[in-house]
Symmetry: C2
Subunit: 315 residues, 2 copies
């Protein structure tokens, strides 16, 4: 059902109907107290929630409403990629202040664009008034064998998809009030959820995965802590977008590329050919003494301080 959603009368429902109309064919079954769907036999449900808040995760002057919608949904879908899961659908809780209602339909268009690009129909949602625009996206997927952060094993290599640093360079320009380079801006405004890439990697023996949301170095720390391993990250090998240093690339958050642990002999050329995206070996995994899980960064063959991660949450 799309524009003709069978809800009773009322202004809340008019706005909801307008939003659902923009979801168009990417919406399915909205209009009940809850959505229902079937998880494929033998697979586990994979679920994650991610909230994007105006003036915390983005500023309304930096992105179009369409981009805000696309980016919010993509960031959430990236968590399914990190688990090696196929999307089943998503539910969207939208808090929409009066001053942002004019952009509501474009925002819905952006969410629908992400739904289409990554194969995740919009199966439900909630709509609320509120002082600040916020988009809470809960994604649902399934996997026969999900990838966890805990699975890294001694002897694994660390691999990263894509090229890093664009997001932080765009953010730096935006915060300085200047226009980011178009390539950097795209990395910030239109990230990709590496859904298909993650499945390719899972099928070829990936043992652990995380999406790069806090920065490569910080996310490597999460894998190290969860797996109880000592990771080495070679900053000289980190794939950088034009204009980014290795330190930029290792600290840049919200990249939504994947960091995985897995076999040292993955066929990066086949990956690049299939996805048009580099797959780069950036380090390795070794066992840790008790209490000594963590990450060692190397540059020029020497130990260096781990680049600080990137967090919106500034206490």
């Amino acid at each position: 059902m799309t524009a003709n959603i069978p809800l009773g009368p009322g202004p809340e429902f008019d706005l909801l109907r307008a939003i659902v109309a923009r979801y168009g064919q990417m919406s399915a079954g909205i209009g009940d107290d809850a959505a229902t769907l079937r998880v494929p036999d033998g697979e586990q449900l994979v679920v994650s929630t991610d909230v994007a808040v105006e003036d915390v995760h983005f500023r309304a002057t930096w992105l179009t409403p369409n981009e805000i919608g696309f980016r919010s949904a993509t960031a959430a879908l990236s968590d399914l990629a990190a688990m090696g899961a196929k999307p089943l659908g998503m539910v969207i809780a939208l808090t929409l202040p009066p001053r942002r209602r004019a952009g509501a339909e474009a925002l819905a268009d952006g969410i629908a664009r992400a739904a289409r690009d990554f194969g995740a129909p919009i199966i439900g949602g909630d709509l609320s008034d509120g002082a600040v625009l916020a988009i809470a996206v809960t994604v649902l997927g399934s996997a026969a064998r999900p990838l966890y952060r805990t699975g890294a094993r001694p002897g694994d290599a660390l691999w990263v998809t894509g090229q890093l640093g664009g997001s932080v360079l765009a953010l730096r320009a935006l915060l300085a009030g200047t226009a980011p380079a178009p390539g950097h801006r795209m990395r910030f405004a239109a990230p990709r959820a590496r859904i298909a890439e993650a499945q390719w990697l899972a099928e070829r023996g990936a043992t652990a995965a995380i999406d790069i949301s806090d920065g490569l170095a910080a996310d490597a720390s999460h894998i190290a802590a969860a797996s109880g391993m000592r990771l080495t990250l070679d900053l000289d090998r980190v794939p950088c977008v034009d204009g980014a240093t290795a330190a930029d690339a290792a600290a840049s958050g919200e990249e939504y590329e994947l960091l995985i642990a897995g076999p040292a002999d993955l066929d990066a050329a086949a990956f690049a050919s299939r996805f048009g995206l580099p797959l780069t070996k950036v380090g390795n995994v070794a066992s840790a003494l008790p209490g000594a899980a963590g990450v060692d960064a190397l540059q020029g063959g020497r130990p260096v301080a781990l680049p600080a991660g990137f967090s919106h949450f500034q206490p």
Copy 2:
């Protein structure tokens, strides 16, 4: 995992660890990019999302942080009841302004209380800074045969659980700056998700269900529209809390009681004995001419205007 959640260092993760520690035994598997769980064989996944925003759904002066957490989670779980679903778990996206951090642990206690009361472990979440406290709760459940709004059939009776009106009377007092009667306040601050009640009703032939969040009259309109039926609502029969008129009771939102369509001969005495809660027949369902789905209200045997629903969303 509870307090010892294996995340890397950082202030965001310290606060997250403190919150997860308060979830205690009600948390399960938090700490990966996404949570995983199994849906029972042969059942469908049921999912709903619900956001509670400070100064829209509640004011911080009206409720303790523990009550805010409990009420937010319960409101979302009520949508599983409306579908006749058993809870599997929930994910919580929390936007926490600095001025509300002192209450974060009590808020988590309240969420954990709802998780315990209604059997829904907390399996994941997100934590964000932001200008306004907001709690987006996504609930996951399963049902072999979910109850939809679309299922009402000619000849069904309409039944409602509990007694209505307490929520709006409490809200009216709070908005006037006076103290609500304790019984009314409890209906606002500590609603119940009618999970077990809904399963009892589903097993005995309920055809359609909705939880009363917009007000009995408005929610009856949703069932009428979705089922394409003409509903009659007898206001003289609506069960009212002490001090509430029938019009109060029919307009009161956020009651989280259930309105169902189903057999006219349900055993209300057995229901009351089992759950300590009245089950009351309040109307019936008839077929509608095309385009004429809707609700007729009666009082003293005469047609009256349908009491206006209750909406936080004031355009």
